[in-house]
Every structure is written in structure tokens, then in C-alpha cells.
């Protein structure tokens, strides 16, 4: 069985490629060329085959991913499923189930059967959580346990998996010497580091990367290699540990492609605005054009309660610079676990950012959307404006102007005079 990447390399034009190309107004040959060389990934587990497949990468529209998941044993699956529905209603292109508690298998299976979009996970979360349950400590995890979880998730149909494979022991020293303000904010990265320190062993996701590739290949799982050293503060952005890990990520991209496994790279995180372009360019260069999946980026640290906005600013800039998929950030980031309303707002803000980036990148069709909206405004066509709005629900209190036309200026309306001159409807004054 060939992987998607291998089929693209051999020039086999399967319906999936045709569909994704059509949705993106890209020629299928170009899409396949980019899948073949890894510039585009289509997360599409052979056990899930999402009804609405999505491509991430060069020349495609910028996508948005929303993360949800059980965070405590008492969390209700119904609540999480409602968040999934809200994220889809708000227009997300992918869902990540980051459950770390409760019945994780049940939650994942319920979500997969519900979601017509690519679904991602972070398998070390479940692996460590199960080690705590069955062995009394996350540190008691054995590599074999992890691979069982990974295979179970892959067999369930998970389309892409975040894995901290580039986090190796050399980085422990760099991280220590780096003296970052916030040393480690990646939860998976922290757990792995603790495990590495305790056992005085290398990261099994790094040393046993070939096994990861085997499982990924078997189920067509797209790898989403995560940045364990992602900065947790603007001041830590582009520090040595982050850059050193990126170099290793680049090497793993090469190995993954050689194995015919689709791969993308995850990125920050807290990045001040003037470093966003450099961050994206560095990843693109070092990781040989692998699609970049950024978290925000969060452009300033000082706005807890509004991080959907700090991230929209960063996301738009990152997308314009070449980032391919934006992990949403919700208003609850840094303060609380997001509720359904936060999820909705986070997706909408990220979609705005993605679209703004698409305009800047010159993505086909992006400009036309804005043009149609502007024409609807010119024509004062409220219904069209509502239909074209990115978030229609926000326009419930926006009614068509029912009031009689203004007649205050009995002796000539300035707006009418100007409107007539430009052959437009008169504006309201």
C-alpha cells in the first residue's frame, strides 16, 4: 500500500487529490507535485478518511485548528463534544483532541466519528496519563507503552499526531544554559524531559523515530512534530534552545520524507511581532519547506483574557510570512480552561487572521471575498453583507435600514449630490 506522498510521487491522481485541488482552486498536478515534495500535507488516516479533507501548505489557504479535550476525570464528554460542534460551526478546518484525563479512548472515538475534518492528537498525553493510572507515575512509562497508545490512536483513525521527537538530551543542557524567563511551557515536552532526566536516557521519540514512521506509514498518519522548547514569553523567542531544536526537526523532516510519511512542523507560541517573519522563514528554510503549524503566535504577553486578539495579530503576520495552519488561541489562554464560547471566539479570531494572511500572500479567491463584501456595502445590500460575513451570528442585531430616508435637508442633500456625482446610492449622513 502506497502512502499519499508516494502516490503523488508516482503521479497517481487519486480522487482525494482532485477534490483538495478543486477546493483550493489549484491545478491537481501542482498539488501532487507539492504533496510529493512535502510542501503540502493532506492529513488523511486510512481508518478515518475525513469527509472534508484539508490540505495544509504552500499555495493553499491558511487553515485553522481548534484544540479541545478532557482535562480532568470529572469533565463531561458531552461538554467536549459541544465544544467540537462549536468549533466546526465557527469554521475550523481541523480539531485536536488533547485529552489528558477521563476515558480518553472513548472521547477520541466519539470525536472521530463526529468530525468530518482532520483530527489530531498528542499521544504522549494519553501515554503518560495511563502510566500514572496503571503504574503510579508518569516516570514509570516504558517506550513500549507509548507505542501501544500511538498505534491504538492510529488504528482509531487519528489523522495527524503531535510528537516531540526533536527533544533530545543535548537540549537539556542548552535549555539550562539559556536561562529563559519561562524555561519550558510545553506540557508534553516537560513530561518527556522529566522522564529523560529521571531515567538518564535519551528521548524514545527521538531514538525510536523509525518506529514512529512505521506506524505513521501503516495508517497514513501525518506527523506534526512539536516544539518542546517553544518559547513561553516574548523575551524567550528565538533563543538558542528553540533554534537548536528546529535544526533537529529539519533532520527529522528529511527522514520522514524518505520514508514516504507526510510531515509538518509545529511552531510558537510567544513571538514578538518583529520576530515573526524571521521565525517563519527560519522554519521554512531549515525544515525544507515543510508546512508550518503555529500556535498563535501570541504577539504580546500582557493581555490575558484577550489572547485571541494577541494571537490574531501574530497569526495574520505569520500567515503573511508563510505559516500554513494556525492553532487557535482562546480568550481563556493563560487563565482558565476554555468553555464553548471561548472555543467559538478563538476559531473566529484565528480565521480572520488566516484570511488576512491569505490576502497578503495573494491566495486565489481571498481578495474576491472582500471585493464582494465591499460591493454589497456600496449597494447598501444588508442581506448580502450578512451572507458574506465571516461570522454571520454576530450580525443578529444588524437590521436593514427600515427607517424612512432622511429628509432633513429639504433644500438639497449633500450626500445625494455626492452620490449622484459618483453614480452611487446616497450615503447616510
Amino acid at each position: 500500500m502506497l502512502t499519499l506522498m508516494e502516490m503523488a510521487q508516482k503521479g497517481q491522481e487519486i480522487p482525494l487529490f482532485t477534490l483538495v485541488a478543486q477546493n483550493e482552486q489549484m491545478k491537481v498536478q501542482l498539488l501532487m507535485e507539492r504533496v510529493a515534495n512535502g510542501r503540502i500535507v493532506i492529513p488523511y488516516n486510512s481508518h478515518h478518511k475525513p469527509q472534508k479533507p484539508q490540505g495544509f501548505g504552500l499555495g493553499l489557504s491558511t487553515k485553522v485548528s481548534a484544540s479541545i479535550g478532557l482535562d480532568a476525570d470529572e469533565d463531561s464528554l458531552t461538554d467536549e463534544l459541544f465544544k467540537v460542534d462549536e468549533a466546526i460551526r465557527a469554521g475550523t478546518h481541523a480539531i485536536m483532541d488533547l485529552s489528558t484525563a477521563g476515558n480518553m479512548d472513548e472521547a477520541r472515538r466519539a470525536i472521530i466519528s463526529r468530525v468530518p475534518l482532520p483530527l489530531g492528537t498528542l499521544p504522549v498525553y494519553q501515554a503518560f496519563a495511563e502510566a500514572v493510572r496503571s503504574k503510579g507515575s508518569a516516570l514509570a512509562l516504558e517506550p513500549e507503552d507509548f507505542f501501544k497508545v500511538m498505534e491504538r490512536q492510529a488504528a482509531d483513525g487519528v489523522d495527524f499526531m503531535a510528537l516531540h521527537s526533536a527533544l533530545h538530551t543535548g537540549l537539556l543542557t542548552t535549555a539550562k544554559e539559556d536561562q529563559r524567563v519561562l524555561n519550558l511551557v510545553s506540557r508534553g515536552g516537560s513530561l518527556l524531559m522529566g522522564w529523560m532526566l529521571y531515567h538518564n536516557k535519551e528521548n524514545f521519540l527521538y531514538t525510536m523515530f523509525d518506529r514512529i514512521l512505521e506506524i505513521a506509514k501503516k495508517y497514513e498518519v501525518t506527523l506534526s512534530l512539536a516544539d518542546g522548547m517553544r518559547p513561553g514569553a516574548g523575551a524567550d523567542s528565538l533563543c538558542r534552545s528553540q533554534v537548536e531544536e528546529l535544526v533537529v526537526l529539519g533532520k527529522l523532516v528529511k527522514r520522514s520524507r524518505q520514508a514516504g510519511v507526510q510531515i509538518m512542523i509545529k511552531g510558537p507560541g510567544h513571538t514578538p511581532p518583529h520576530q515573526i517573519t524571521a521565525t517563519v522563514q527560519l522554519q521554512k528554510q531549515v525544515c525544507e519547506g515543510a508546512p508550518y503549524f503555529v500556535f498563535g503566535p501570541v504577539s504580546t504577553d500582557v493581555a490575558p483574557g484577550y489572547d485571541e486578539i494577541t494571537a490574531a495579530i501574530g497569526g495574520a503576520m505569520a500567515s503573511a510570512a508563510g505559516a500554513d495552519i494556525l492553532c487557535y488561541v482562546t480568550p481563556a489562554e493563560h487563565i482558565a480552561y476554555p468553555n464553548a464560547q471561548d472555543v467559538y471566539r478563538g476559531v473566529v479570531a484565528a480565521r480572520i487572521a488566516a484570511h488576512v494572511g491569505d490576502l497578503a500572500k495573494g491566495y486565489k479567491g481571498a481578495e474576491n471575498w472582500d471585493l464582494q463584501m465591499s460591493q454589497a456595502r456600496r449597494e447598501q445590500n444588508v442581506e448580502s453583507q450578512k451572507a458574506l460575513a465571516l461570522d454571520r451570528e454576530r450580525l443578529t442585531d444588524f437590521h436593514s435600514s427600515e427607517k424612512p430616508f432622511c429628509t432633513k435637508c429639504e433644500k438639497g442633500c449633500a450626500m445625494a449630490v455626492a452620490g449622484e456625482f459618483f453614480q452611487e446610492l446616497p450615503w447616510e449622513c
Binding site: 529521571y198 504580546t300 487563565i335 456595502r377 449633500a414 449622513c429
Partner: protein, 432 residues
């Protein structure tokens, strides 16, 4: 004498002295920027209780909030409430844009009650009075326009948007251009209608010296209105807009020669990739005087969320050199903003300007983020809330969803991976 004239004469005014400290410069450095026209000190001499602010090159990017009545919704108490909300959210200035009710009285009240600089668009009140007096906006006399500017200046309005950079040649160019949305500036549309109806050039352009005389007398900061700002990203940087900017630059030169403090208003709808060009063009054509922009709104398709499209644009614009940002609220394109919209608009704009200030190295900006990052490292929630851009909101979200003093996790007993990492890196162990 205006702040500009004093600065040129080497006089360090008390305002410059105080604001230099606030902005992290020496008084001489700030005074030199004022003398060059690159910084304006906004305060009308008649606004006695006004605490001046400085706007311009190298300074913290400032945020303005617009408020004001409409003819069918006159509730001045509500507008006062919005001003208080804007101030609480951290606005640096407000613009009072009422076009309904007794505006004279309201201006009087706002000037007396508030210490932050207040701006206006005199042609709004002028247009209203013209309707009362002559039955139409187009019936207004040129004299009325200047009388209104003088009246507002005398009352203490600190900065005024005046659509002087609009003449017949710009209107012709605009028509030939074939824009999607021709004129979206209300003041610009008033003046355009007036010019076409009366077949006369714009008095504010033709008799610009009279505008300058008034501004000079009261030290009103002149804000040259962007009458033909683009109303959609498709129209951005078209010939008409650039022509308007060239004319604005000529007027800036005359204002500077007359010793009048001046800034230039800018768009409006601008796609992200055109923002740096827009700012650089203004800076170059307008002698590097401060640039006061609306947004920028980087896409047209998100009504209901234009505080976000505005924040993306504002951050990019301020990074490229914009100095003063007029907020955009979630109600933009839909209706007049409520107090809640005003709050959301000010906060979103402050986030954007702060993000840009980090990027451009404005003094104190990075330190704020660093302090927050340290509070996060220390897991000091009180400090994090205190340092956040909107402490009440941060406190509310945290308080609603987190139990007070939740005990540290003990699931892994003595074998905590997070604790091990913490020990290795010398940090407080996080939760897993």
C-alpha cells in the same frame, strides 16, 4: 505661542518637561522632536484642566476612542458613560463626534469634566447647524465653517479633524478612478456634496490660512482629515488617495511654517501587505509629522469583529511608524457602538499598539512583557492580573473558573516529571 513655536525658540515648556519623563526621553530630545514637527503636544490653551499628551516618533503609540450622538439617538448621559468606559480601558484621547442634540453644551461639559485631550470634527456640528439654519448641509456658508472651527477652538477642543486636503482636482481624480466605495468619510462626503452643489472649491482648502490662524491662536493641533480614505481594501493606495496625501503634505508644510502643530489622518481599509507602504508614503510626503490612522482594517469580511481586523492592522501600522490609532469597535459598519463595544475597541487597540511598541523598541514596552513573564514563572496570579492589560477581565475569567488555592497535584506521588524538570532548570514545577 504654540508648543511648536516655543520648541523652535528653545523654550522647554512644562508639558515637554513632564512628557519627556513619561516617555523616557530627555526634555531636550523631546523638544527637538516637537520643533521638527515629528511630535505634537496635544492641549488647547483653553482646555485648562487638560493633561497634555505627546504623539509622534519614538513615543508610545497612542489610542483614541470616538464617541458621540446620532440624530435619532441623543442620550448625552450615555455618551458620558462611554467616555468613562474608554478612559477606564486606557484610551489616551477621545473624539467627540456628536451630530444630534445640543452639541455646544455637551462640548462644554466634556471639556470641563475630562482631563484627557478631546478631539472633534467641526464640520459635523457645522453640518447640523446648517440644516437648522438653511435647511440643508449644502446651504452652509464658508463663513459658517470658520465660525464653527473658532467656536470649538475657543471652547477648548484640543485637536480637530479638518478636511482641508480635498479639492476639485482630487474629486475628479476620484471619479475617474472608479472606486468600489467612493467616499466613506462622512466629513469628506459633506464637503464633496457642498463643493459639487455650490460649484465652488473647498473653503477649508481655499482659505486654509484662516484654519491655521485659529489653530495657532489656541494651539489646537490640526489633524488633516482623510476625506477620501479608502472604504475597502480594493481601493487602498489608489490614485485619488495618493493625490489627497500629496495635497495633505503641502498643507502640512504650510502649517509647520505657520507654527501650527499638525498631524495627518490616514485610512481606513488597507490590506496587510500595503500597510508599510502606506505609512512610509505618508511619512515621506508629509514631512514626518505624526500619522493618525483608523485601524487599519485589514479585511472587509468580518463585520462584528472589526476590533480584531483593526488590531491586526494597527499592530502592523504602528510597527511601520504610525503614531496614533483611532480605535475600531466590534460595532463598526453595523451601528453606533455601545459602552461594551467602546471597551472592547479600546482594549483591542491597546493590545495592538503595545505589540507594535515592543517591536519598535518603545521605552518600557518590553519591560512590561518581561514582568508578566516573570509573574508567570513564579505562578504569581495576583501579579499576573495586576499586570494584565485589563485586570478586571482577567480577574473575572480566572475567578469564574478556578477554585481558590487548588492544591498542587499529587497524582504521581514522589515521582513527578514536572518537578524533576523544574529542579533541572531551576524553575517552579508546572502542572502536567
Amino acid at each position: 505661542m504654540t508648543q511648536l513655536i516655543k520648541a523652535r525658540q528653545g523654550i522647554i515648556t512644562p508639558e515637554v518637561e513632564r512628557l519627556a519623563k513619561v516617555e523616557g526621553f530627555t526634555a531636550d530630545e523631546l523638544s527637538a522632536k516637537v520643533a521638527a514637527g515629528r511630535v505634537v503636544i496635544i492641549k488647547n490653551k483653553q482646555h485648562k484642566n487638560c493633561i497634555a499628551i505627546a504623539v509622534g516618533e519614538g513615543l508610545r503609540t497612542k489610542v483614541n476612542a470616538n464617541i458621540g450622538t446620532s440624530p435619532d439617538c441623543v442620550d448625552f448621559a450615555d455618551e458620558l458613560h462611554k467616555i468613562n468606559v474608554a478612559i477606564a480601558a486606557g484610551a489616551d484621547t477621545i473624539m467627540e463626534l456628536s451630530i444630534g442634540g445640543n452639541v455646544d453644551d455637551f462640548h462644554h461639559q466634556v471639556i470641563n469634566q475630562f482631563t484627557l485631550p478631546v478631539g472633534s470634527v467641526p464640520s459635523y456640528q457645522g453640518g447640523m447647524e446648517s440644516i437648522e439654519k438653511y435647511g440643508s448641509v449644502v446651504g452652509m456658508k464658508a463663513e459658517d465653517m470658520f465660525e464653527m472651527i473658532e467656536r470649538q477652538a475657543k471652547r477648548g477642543i484640543d485637536f480637530m479633524a479638518i478636511h482641508a486636503a480635498l479639492n476639485m482636482s482630487i474629486i475628479d481624480r476620484l471619479k475617474n478612478q472608479g472606486r468600489i466605495t467612493d467616499i466613506v468619510s462622512r466629513g469628506g462626503a459633506f464637503i464633496t456634496g457642498w463643493m459639487l452643489h455650490n460649484e465652488q472649491d473647498n473653503p477649508l482648502y481655499a482659505q486654509f490660512n484662516r484654519v491655521l490662524e485659529i489653530c495657532k491662536k489656541y494651539d489646537v493641533t490640526l489633524s488633516i482629515g482623510d476625506a477620501i480614505r479608502p472604504g475597502c481594501i480594493e481601493d487602498s493606495l489608489d490614485r485619488a488617495q495618493v493625490q489627497g496625501l500629496i495635497v495633505a503634505g503641502e498643507l502640512v508644510q504650510r502649517a509647520l511654517e505657520a507654527g501650527v502643530q499638525v498631524m495627518v489622518e490616514g485610512p481606513g481599509h488597507v490590506p496587510l501587505d500595503q500597510i508599510p507602504a502606506t505609512i512610509q508614503l505618508q511619512k515621506q510626503l508629509c514631512h514626518h509629522v505624526p500619522y493618525y490612522i483608523l485601524g487599519n482594517l485589514v479585511t472587509d469580511i468580518a463585520p462584528g469583529h472589526d476590533h480584531i481586523t483593526g488590531a491586526i492592522g494597527a499592530a502592523t501600522a504602528a510597527m511601520a511608524g504610525a503614531d496614533f490609532i483611532c480605535y475600531v469597535t466590534p460595532a463598526e459598519h453595523l451601528r453606533l457602538p455601545t459602552a461594551e463595544d467602546v471597551h472592547a475597541g479600546v482594549i483591542a487597540t491597546r493590545i495592538a499598539t503595545h505589540a507594535a511598541d515592543i517591536a519598535t523598541g518603545v521605552r518600557g514596552a518590553r519591560e512590561w512583557d518581561l514582568a508578566m513573564a516573570r509573574a508567570r514563572k513564579d505562578l504569581d496570579w495576583e501579579k499576573q492580573i495586576e499586570l494584565s492589560i485589563d485586570p478586571p477581565t482577567a480577574r473575572r475569567i480566572r475567578g469564574e473558573r478556578n477554585e481558590e488555592g487548588a492544591e498542587a497535584c499529587s497524582m504521581c506521588g514522589g515521582f513527578c516529571a514536572m518537578k524533576l524538570v523544574g529542579e533541572h532548570l531551576g524553575k517552579t514545577g508546572g502542572s502536567c
